[in-house]
């Protein structure tokens, strides 16, 4: 029990807890195995977990355990004599005794011994080995640990000397600075020690990132440089999200020219906003004469326009369109679907509900219904009037030939495009403003123009 108390104390001291109670769920599931991390000694849980079968196994292991106690006694003698070579040898012997059932010496005990005896090189080896093999080592659940011996009390005494308000690194940094070691080894040891608190104390995180960068820059050929760079430094540096975001953006901007085609391909079918201006229109009309050509002349629509908003493949369009019949235009609201989109070509069929309109000019004085020309009830020669139709439907397809595609300002995933636009379709239009404008027509039509598209 005493050992467990020491262990808990060490865990509290060396491993810093994370704040959020909100983590309880996933921490419970994932962090429990990690209690082995900082101490090297797993949480053995309550004794109730041991069943009779396990108890019998433990009895069989008593010989292993007595060997472990003897080894620890020998280690204690070496510590008392301050013989670092003997200490290393005894520790190696105890490590060799380690089995799935008995752990004669745990990492925290080794660390305390190394700290007390200023054995920094051995400490470095221990730390590097521990972290390098972290993901490969599997502690068994029911391991026994020697306890209540002299070595355990010795470790407890060393731990008692530490300032519990400081991390282990802060406690021993002075001794590491003045240790007789290569600068590379010193740096690596500091990095290893800082790992324990890097993600809980900001100052340690900053120091770890700085030290990690320096180490990798100064000693790129060091056997551990690649490992530290990838496993330790990279995740730490990615914690500075602002820097990461800036670098990512700069990288993407710098390389956007060479990735242009790739970026365009990635953003096809994503949607955008477009405007088409149709300068040339034509068509055929089949059906009634829509107006009294002996009384009126119609005005041709000079420019037709279309605005559309594309969301993914769907497009919502509002347009003023020449219907294909002389003098008849229509205000339309349409819903389209992009069936094909590529670097140069986009095909967007759509159906539109239209409100046909006709602007006519009287050739002579004409009496007209009041609702159309309420002020006078007649049109004089040269007067203009607008007649609205009842209903119109348009089925058409837009074909865009995109001759220019450029990045929109400094964006990487947004573009500006110019196209030659063709619209081909059929419209049905009816007027019911008898006696002068009346009838229905079906008209195949086309329009050609230019379009701009922001996407």
């Amino acid at each position: 029990m005493v050992c467990r108390k020491v262990y808990l104390f060490l865990v509290l001291f060396l491993a810093v807890s994370v704040c959020a109670a909100e983590f309880e769920d996933f921490e419970r599931s994932l962090m429990q195995p990690d209690t082995t991390v900082t101490s090297g000694k797993p949480d053995t849980g309550s004794s109730a977990t041991y069943n009779a079968f396990e108890q019998s196994l433990l009895q069989e292991e008593s010989s292993e355990m007595s060997l472990a106690y003897r080894g620890r006694e020998a280690l204690m003698q070496a510590i008392k004599s301050r013989d670092t070579a003997a200490i290393s040898q005894r520790i190696a012997e105890l490590d060799n005794m380690k089995s799935g059932n008995v752990a004669p010496l745990v990492n925290i005990e080794k660390e305390c011994i190394y700290i007390d005896n200023q054995m920094w090189r051995q400490m470095l080896e221990l730390e590097v080995s521990y972290y390098k093999n972290f993901y490969d080592s599997l502690e068994t659940e029911y391991v026994q640990y020697p306890e209540n011996d002299e070595l355990m009390f010795y470790v407890k005494k060393i731990v008692g000397k530490f300032d519990t308000n400081l991390t282990m690194y802060r406690n021993i940094s002075y001794y590491i600075e003045h240790a007789r070691m290569d600068q590379a080894d010193k740096m690596e040891l500091v990095i290893m020690l800082l790992l324990r608190s890097a993600y809980t104390r900001f100052e340690d995180y900053k120091l770890l990132a700085e030290m990690g960068r320096d180490f990798c820059n100064k000693y790129p050929k060091h056997p551990d440089a690649e490992w530290i760079k990838k496993s330790v430094l990279a995740p730490a540096e990615r914690t500075n999200f602002r820097n990461l975001y800036r670098e990512n953006k700069v990288n993407r901007f710098d390389t956007r020219a060479e990735h242009k085609e790739e970026n365009i391909a990635k953003n096809l079918y994503t949607g955008g906003v477009g405007t088409n201006v149709f300068l040339l229109s034509g068509g055929l009309a089949f059906g009634d004469d829509l107006y009294r050509s002996d009384l009126f002349e119609v005005e041709e629509l000079v420019v037709a326009l279309e605005f559309y908003l594309q969301l993914k493949r769907f497009a919502f369009a509002a347009e003023l369109l020449s219907s294909g019949m002389t003098g008849v235009a229509s205000y339309s609201l349409g819903l389209g679907y992009v069936v094909f989109d590529s670097r140069y070509l986009k095909v967007r069929p759509y159906v539109a509900y239209c409100f046909p309109t006709m602007i006519i000019e009287a050739k002579k004085n004409v009496l007209v219904p009041e609702r159309l020309y309420s002020e006078h009830g007649y049109m004089e020669d040269g007067d203009n009037g607008q007649f609205m139709g009842d209903l119109g439907l348009t089925f058409a397809v837009n074909v865009d030939f995109r001759f220019l595609t450029a990045y929109l300002f400094r964006a990487v995933n947004h573009f500006f495009g110019m196209s030659l636009v063709g619209k081909f379709g059929v419209s049905y239009i009816s007027f019911d403003d008898a006696p002068y404008v009346d009838g229905a027509n079906v008209s195949p039509f086309f329009s050609l123009g230019l379009g701009v598209y922001f996407w």
């Binding site: 994370v18 993901y135 730490a236 999200f241 990461l244 990512n248």
Partner: protein, 148 residues
């Protein structure tokens, strides 16, 4: 009336908490993500306890979440798991956590939500310890299902 309105807002926020998308900035994601099969669980690993990544891993982006009214810690973690699965990551490596406030203003007053926000890496890695964790998570999930 005011009570009814406030009650409705609270109900809507609680409902939204379970389904809403967590506001976030996600960068460095793969160009062609390969979703993780359902048979592999997504692990959430706290860097404060496991301060390094395996020697071999595939980096699949970093995410920073933000506070939003109606947030919940479970919802945030569930969202991260879903996103990780989508990009093919089996580990959400949480490196920084914080509690931030989100404000929701109405004509009757304002409401605040305390939200867990975090910065995490998405990675895919294979190692004996990861397999062990995955087994433990699978066991927990199956026992949870059995309990239901």
């Amino acid at each position: 009336m005011r009570f009814v309105a406030l009650f409705s807002i609270v109900v809507v926020l609680l409902l939204c908490a379970s389904c809403s998308r967590v506001p976030n900035v996600y960068i460095g994601g793969p160009k062609d993500p390969q979703p993780l099969p359902d048979s592999i669980p997504v692990l959430v690993v706290n860097a404060a306890k496991v301060p390094l990544l395996p020697q071999e891993y595939n980096y699949l982006g970093t995410i920073k979440t933000a506070a939003a009214s109606g947030c919940s810690s479970d919802g945030t973690i569930a969202y991260l798991r879903t996103l990780a699965r989508k990009v093919g990551a089996n580990i959400v490596y949480v490196k920084k956590t914080d509690i931030e406030l989100a404000f929701f203003y109405t004509q009757y007053g304002s409401m605040t939500s305390r939200c867990l926000t975090l910065i995490a890496d998405f990675v895919y890695a294979e190692a004996p310890l990861i397999s062990k964790w995955e087994e433990e998570v699978k066991k927990m999930e199956s026992s949870r299902k059995a309990g239901e």
